[in-house]
Amino acid sequence: MKKKSLKIAMVGLFLLSLFTSGCASQTNSTNAKQNEKASVKFPTKPIELIVPFAAGGGTDLVARALAESMKSELGKDVVVINKTGGSGAVGMNEGLHSKADGYTLTMATREIVSLPLLELAPFKTTDFKFIGNMNRDPALLVVSTKSKYKKFEDLVDDIKANPGKLKFASSSTPSLYGIPFAQAANLKFATIPFQGTAQAVVEVLGGRAEFGLYGPGEVTAQIKSGDLRPLAIMAEERLEGDLKDIPTMKEKGVNVGWAGTYRGLAVPGDTPDEVVNVLEDAVEKAVNDQKFIDFMAKQNLFIDYLNAADFEAMIEKDITALDPIVQAANEQK
């Protein structure tokens, strides 16, 4: 009896280890083979998509939805792999140093620009070749519905009347939203950094911080329940859908450009053009897939497709836009 149950336990453990190692090694096997110069015959095997952030986050959601839709375009599996660490630097670096054959794609978020500028990444933004952009979300300024701020002006006036007194609960360090907002409107407020939006939102809901700037998808629940009030977005144009009545800061006389996050695809710089073209094509078709469109709309994630050339131009523009913000962040250190 003793022996028997022992055996069962051992077999169980063994099977589980097989299962887990199977899940893990899936990652590596795809890199191994395939040496031939990629011709038009691409893809001939599953493609790996590196998400440099944790599962369940915004970037992960976009990646998984994209992978589903690209799969039907390319006829091969697109496998999402989360490689976390270094605020995205680890996963992006690994994507950059993978074989330049188009079988390893990397989600390119705004961190692909900000991390090198902040000297927190071992690569340059321009080391990558950009395939296309899927999504772009502006930052949304929110306050608690219990607060006295009904309009954007109320908040700005109060910040001006009490310089340095009001609190901004930031979801990251440095705040790529808070700094340009302060610079453009010439405002002084205290920035309290938190790790991630969830913790920061608690501060606004609890009334300890007066306002916050987050991605629209990250605060949908609280806006719908009437706990948070959206006041303005940091974008050139208004959003569509539920948030179409929210004014841009520009409309309200604050001369601030776009701030937020974007999510596109990148590959190592020396990936052959033929392969890039196939991928670019697949991304374009995927973002027009009804399944993808429905999914994104539900999450308050905004589709903004840019092809390879436009995405690259946008990245270059963003490098110039982020530079002064990073300078300001370094001064605060």
Binding site: K2, S5, L6, I8, A9, M10, G12, L16, S17, T20, S21, C23, A24, T27, A54, A55, G56, G57, D60, R64, E68, I81, N82, K83, T84, G85, G86, S87, A89, V90, N93, L120, A121, K167, T173, P174, A190, T191, I192, P193, F194, Q195, A198, Q199, V201, V202, E203, L205, G206, R208, T220, A221, Q222, K224, S225, D227, F295, Q299, A329, K333
Partner: protein, 501 residues
């Protein structure tokens, strides 16, 4: 009453064969990843999330939630059997669980943990079902200053768990604090002690450190002891002795309350209620010297507390739409993936889904306790696996666990380094638990202190102007002062005298 009827309707959905099956699958996977040191619920839910893509939303979330709370049942097992915690909350369980196993009472330790987990888990789900919204609003009042004060209390409790030598314990605790400094400072974004390596930018990971310090070090020490170190005692019954029932049930009651309350606070972690529960049990025990040598309450309290924590930690998710731990963040992602926005509106827009999930958690907990009680005896026998088989298994799982944290090879090397460090610490008689506990609390301590100081404009006395943080800090200060005073007088402080384990 309204919610009661809705809950019954929830049971109707949760009890369909399909949902029942996935609830069973979920809690079984949860149990197993809890058992495997290193492979935590966060990794497991993340791995299985894509598989649920094609499932019905209710079914998918019932399964993923099952992994989440099921893993806490499993985490106990390795702590008790091989002195290697499966997840952070079970570090404390090693203190008394492992000695119990050495006495041949592994079955009892696991049985009590299962009963406690069931009670704690069920009570906190009742709380989630019926009194969640007002509680969640109250918890919003808990900001960085209150958090800081709570962690100070936790740190103070760690001193009470030092082991034989206070000095060695303090050195170990300080090492933990220093290790917590590695990586990016959340306030300024400056990167510290990363040796120029990107993989260290976000700091060290708890799993890799624990796998090394506990698992690998245990193997190394064991190798030295020539494999066949005595036959372990026979596994006796699953239930405590008759005279142990009363204190055990009381410990379970206290653990439930403690875990439930701390779970409400967004951003807390399950280590805090476990530490507090253990210290509480030790403080009020008639004979505190039993602790560390196999006190049943020392297993019952913390194990109950972390399960009560797991249920109430879902309250911020359901009532505020805020995921308060990494695993819950993945659950949050699962809701979103299936087109549901977690938060207060979910009760109005999709009441049947919410209540079905809550109902499934009652069922899941019941399945877990039914699975665990008889299995406790079976697990107990694993302690008798010859070490020449057991050690390679520990080694394999430590490596897999470390790799699965970030899907990164570097973490395996870090784990090996900490394995050697753990070996040396054991050789030199340094306790390992203080290091791990201060490491977990250290980052929270630093961040919440700095965040509070920005709130207070740099004024340290700001802490004392807020009722909760003020009270907690004053109590901590008093305890410290009294113990220093008495130790000067009697050369042995209150805290220090507790320490003799």
């Amino acid at each position: 009453m309204d919610s009661f009827i809705q809950l019954l309707q929830g049971f109707e959905t949760a009890l369909t064969w399909w949902n029942l099956l996935y609830c069973l699958i979920g809690v079984t996977i949860g149990m197993l990843v809890g058992v495997l040191p290193g492979l935590g619920p966060t990794t497991a839910t993340a791995l299985l999330l894509p598989i649920t893509y094609s499932m019905e939303p209710v079914t998918a979330i019932i399964m993923l939630a099952g992994i989440y709370y099921g893993s806490l049942y499993g985490g106990t097992i390795t702590s008790v059997l091989i002195n290697t915690p499966g997840e952070a909350a079970s570090v404390i369980t090693c203190f008394d669980g492992y000695p119990l196993a050495k006495q041949g009472r592994a079955g009892t330790a696991l049985g009590v943990a299962a009963i406690g987990s069931f009670i704690g888990g069920t009570v906190s789900i009742i709380g989630l079902a019926f009194i969640a919204p007002p509680l969640a609003k109250l918890a919003l009042g808990f900001g960085p200053p209150e958090f800081f004060a709570l962690i100070v209390v936790g740190m103070l409790m760690v001193i009470g768990l030092m082991g034989k030598s206070l000095i060695r314990g303090l050195i170990s605790a300080l090492l933990g604090l220093i290790l917590a400094l590695v990586g990016m400072d959340t306030i300024s974004g400056a990167v510290r002690f990363n040796l120029g390596q990107d993989f260290l930018m976000n700091g060290l990971d708890f799993v890799t450190i624990t796998m090394g310090l506990f698992g690998l070090a245990e193997v190394l020490i064991g190798l030295e002891e020539r494999m066949n170190a005595g036959k372990p005692a026979k596994v006796k019954g699953l239930l405590p002795r008759r005279d142990e029932w009363k204190p055990t049930l009381k410990a379970i009651g206290r653990g439930t309350g403690l875990g439930f309350l701390i779970g409400l606070i967004p951003g807390s972690n399950s280590v805090i209620p476990a530490i507090l529960s253990y210290s509480w049990e030790k403080k009020i025990a008639k004979d505190p010297s039993r602790f560390g040598k196999g006190a049943i309450e020392g297993v019952a309290g913390p194990e109950t507390a972390n399960n009560a924590y797991s249920g109430s930690a879902l309250i911020p998710l359901f009532t505020l739409g805020i995921p308060s731990s990494p695993t819950i963040a993945i659950l949050f992602g699962a809701f979103i993936m299936h087109g549901l926005t977690p938060g207060p509106t979910l009760f109005q827009t999709n009441p049947n889904i919410v209540w079905a999930i809550i109902a499934s958690m009652f069922i899941g907990n019941l399945i877990l306790v039914i699975m665990n009680l008889p299995m406790a005896g079976m697990w107990g026998k694993i302690a008798m696996i010859p070490t020449k088989l057991l050690y390679p298994i520990i080694l394999i799982f430590s490596v897999i666990g470390a790799y699965s944290v970030n899907n990164n090879l570097w973490d395996i090397w870090i784990m090996f380094i900490f394995g050697i460090m753990g070996y040396l610490m054991k050789k030199l008689d340094f306790p390992i638990a203080p290091l791990v506990l201060t490491f977990v609390l250290g980052e929270l301590l630093e961040t919440s202190l700095l965040q509070s100081l920005i709130y207070f404009n740099g004024n340290v006395f700001g802490f004392f102007q807020r009722p909760i943080s003020g009270t907690l800090l004053v109590i901590s200060l008093l305890v410290l002062i009294i113990s220093i005073f008495t130790s000067l007088k009697k050369k042995r402080g209150i805290l220090a005298s507790d320490v003799e384990m």
